[in-house]
């Protein structure tokens, strides 16, 4: 290994180290299983949305592909998971989940070649077109998908044959959170690898990264497929936890909401989608109790406001908040060894 490569490897390793804040985040997340049992239904939706947002962040935040069609993968896998459960083809939910993800990934791989070409607008139109086409297909073959009434009569078997889904969503939430965590670990490994670094280079300037020898198209195809896999897992989770799947999993609103989630949380770092999902879901819940019918208006207003305030300004706030939290975290960690050293010093004397 050349010194430069070793140097970069060192840097990546250092950046990929788990910070105290991250560990705290996940401890809080898992603690909510026991601490907030009455909120589990909405938390389940949040975990699914977070995973979905994570999938979009991989292509939007890291590779710079604007997509309005992420719902295509979400919906396809959702229907797949529903159908295999309904007809008893794959009974075990975890296995069905992985298969659904793979189906979505296959779709992602095929459609990835469509987004390689053209400008932002073309990409937008193609991704949107794909998800609309799938929506039309699902509507057309209503004898399979249930059409506008949704896919009914789905019964999901117990997870791993032991943990049965209950109506309060306790099993569902634990299941979703574990899946989210596993997917997050995979995504984290990906973005802190040289592969992730090359994606950032492509986002920065595709032409130049091609010139320094990064296989731009192959990398984009790869990340698009991975992202489709995660989106598919999210869609399958939704079907499995609600035992229902309707046409709106493929709708444009779903993709648009997803963009909003990611924008709230911030693009280009993995926790953006997660934090965005939590904020979005609880805000939506809150607005919906105030004005059940017109919550869309406030969502729209929020989008407009965010853009007018400026995403870069928001990103700066994010950065500042993160830096402050990081300093806080560092201080608490430093403080303890300092205490230990102070305690050890007198004994040494």
């Amino acid at each position: 290994m050349t010194p430069l490569a070793a140097d970069i490897g060192q840097k990546l390793k250092r950046r990929g180290r788990w910070s105290a804040l991250e560990i705290a985040f996940w401890i809080v997340a898992f603690a909510s299983i026991w601490l907030l049992p009455q909120k589990h239904l909405i938390l389940t939706e949040t975990a699914i949305l977070a995973l979905f947002a994570l999938s979009l962040d991989l292509i939007l935040g890291y590779a710079g592909i604007i997509s309005l069609g992420q719902a295509a993968f979400f919906g396809t896998a959702g229907y797949f998971a529903g159908l295999v459960a309904k007809h008893g083809i794959i009974d075990e939910p975890v296995l069905a989940l992985i298969c659904s993800g793979l189906v979505a990934a296959a779709l992602g791989f095929i459609t990835s070649f469509l987004v390689l070409r053209g400008s932002d607008l073309t990409r937008l139109m193609v991704t949107l077109g794909v998800s609309l086409m799938l929506g039309e297909l699902a509507n057309r073959y209503s004898d399979i998908t249930g059409g506008a009434d949704g896919l009914q009569g789905v019964t999901v078997a117990p997870v791993l044959g032991r943990f049965e889904f209950d109506m309060f969503g306790h099993t569902g939430y634990t299941y979703c959170l574990i899946v989210l965590f596993v997917c997050f670990l995979i995504a984290r490994r990906l973005v802190y690898s040289p592969f992730g670094l090359s994606l950032r280079a492509i986002k920065g300037n595709a032409l130049r990264s091609g010139a320094v020898g990064i296989p731009v198209n192959a990398r984009l195809v790869a990340i698009y497929t991975v992202s489709a896999f995660f989106a598919g897992i999210a869609g399958a989770l939704l079907t499995q936890t609600t035992a229902f799947c309707s046409l709106d999993v493929l709708s444009l609103e779903r993709s648009a909401d997803l963009l909003l989630v990611l924008i709230i949380g911030g693009t280009g770092y993995l926790y953006g989608g997660l934090i965005g999902a939590v904020i979005y879901k609880f805000m939506q819940d809150w607005i919906a109790t105030l004005t059940p019918q017109y919550w869309q208006f406030w969502i729209g207003l929020l989008l407009v406001a965010i853009v007018l305030v400026g995403r870069d300004r928001m990103a700066a706030w994010h950065q500042a908040a993160r830096a402050a939290l990081g300093r806080l975290g560092a201080r608490t960690i430093k403080w303890r060894p300092a205490l230990g050293a102070a305690g050890a010093a007198p004994g040494g004397r």
Partner: protein, 286 residues
């Protein structure tokens, strides 16, 4: 068969009037305006209120719809849109989708979620029968109005001073600025005019396309297809694209009704893959 062609042409003409404003804004400012359909909806509802509730004659309702939406468009352009032109595409998409959501919910709140119909005069309902082809009178009116508008637009673009300024700005904004053309003003006027046309289209099309609060979402994709397939460098491109789309959609719904809009989306994707710049673009890489 010919009736389908006729209906398709009428539909396509309508789409063109609805979408040509969008094509200019996209070509001129490279601005992705997903909220274009909201202006069309505004025009439609404006006509509904004027004609059905206040009792303004239909023939007067149409120009009024144009005026109201043009003013509305101009207002929005000056107050909100100007801040977003220089932003990346993602911001533009978010911003305009936000506007669409607001428009949908607000219309739902004010006008109710049910479908609205414009009361059209007796003289315009019914059919002509020419050489065995059934032609709806209303559709004929649409073809005539939209045809006249198209010719007028083309003349305006080709012959007037404003038209040449606009074309110069579309071709190369920076050079146009350098030559002393006030691109911002040209754009503002064009935006207002385009919104007005969308409003007029919405008013005319309320009968054919249906008018309810989800209109901007439902037809957004159609407008975008017209623009992306037609290219943004001229108005002939979008015009041909919308006629093709109109005929294709009507024929598709007639011959393979169950596949719905699937055919249209499939064609669009294929066209975009083969010619990302649009079917009728001059192939200038920018």
């Amino acid at each position: 068969m010919l009736t389908i062609l006729f209906d398709g042409v009428a539909y396509g003409m309508l789409l063109f009037v609805l979408a040509c404003g969008l094509s200019v804004t996209l070509g001129l400012m490279n601005f992705i305006n997903l909220a274009h359909g909201a202006f069309a909806m505004a025009g439609g509802y404006c006509t509904v209120v004027l004609v059905n509730r206040i009792g303004v004659p239909f023939a007067l309702g149409l120009p009024l719809a144009f005026l109201v939406t043009a003013v509305l468009g101009g207002l929005f352009e000056r107050t909100l849109y100007v801040h977003v032109y220089a932003r990346p595409h993602l911001d533009q998409v978010l911003f305009t989708i936000g506007l669409v959501f607001m428009a949908v919910a607000a219309t739902d709140y004010v006008m109710g979620s049910s479908q609205q119909f414009v009361r059209i005069p007796e003289a315009l309902s019914g059919q002509f029968n020419v050489f065995g082809i059934g032609m709806g009178k209303y559709r004929l009116l649409i073809i005539v109005v939209c045809g006249v508008l198209t010719v007028a637009l083309q003349l305006m673009l080709a012959k007037t001073r404003f038209g040449s300024r606009l074309r110069a700005a579309v071709d190369d904004q920076r050079v146009a600025r350098g030559l002393g053309i006030n691109v911002g003003a040209v754009f503002g006027i064009t935006f207002a005019f385009g919104s007005g046309l969308a409003g007029l289209g919405g008013a005319l099309g309320a009968e054919i396309l249906g008018l309810d609060p989800t209109f901007p979402l439902k037809y957004m994709i159609y407008f975008l297809i017209v623009v992306t397939v037609g290219g943004t460098s001229s108005i002939t491109g979008p015009f041909l694209a919308s006629i093709l789309l109109g005929i294709g959609d009507v024929a598709g719904k007639y011959y393979v009704p169950k596949l719905g809009a699937f055919v249209i989306y499939a064609i669009m994707i294929v066209v975009l893959i083969v010619r990302p710049q649009g079917l009728f673009a001059r192939g200038v890489a920018r």
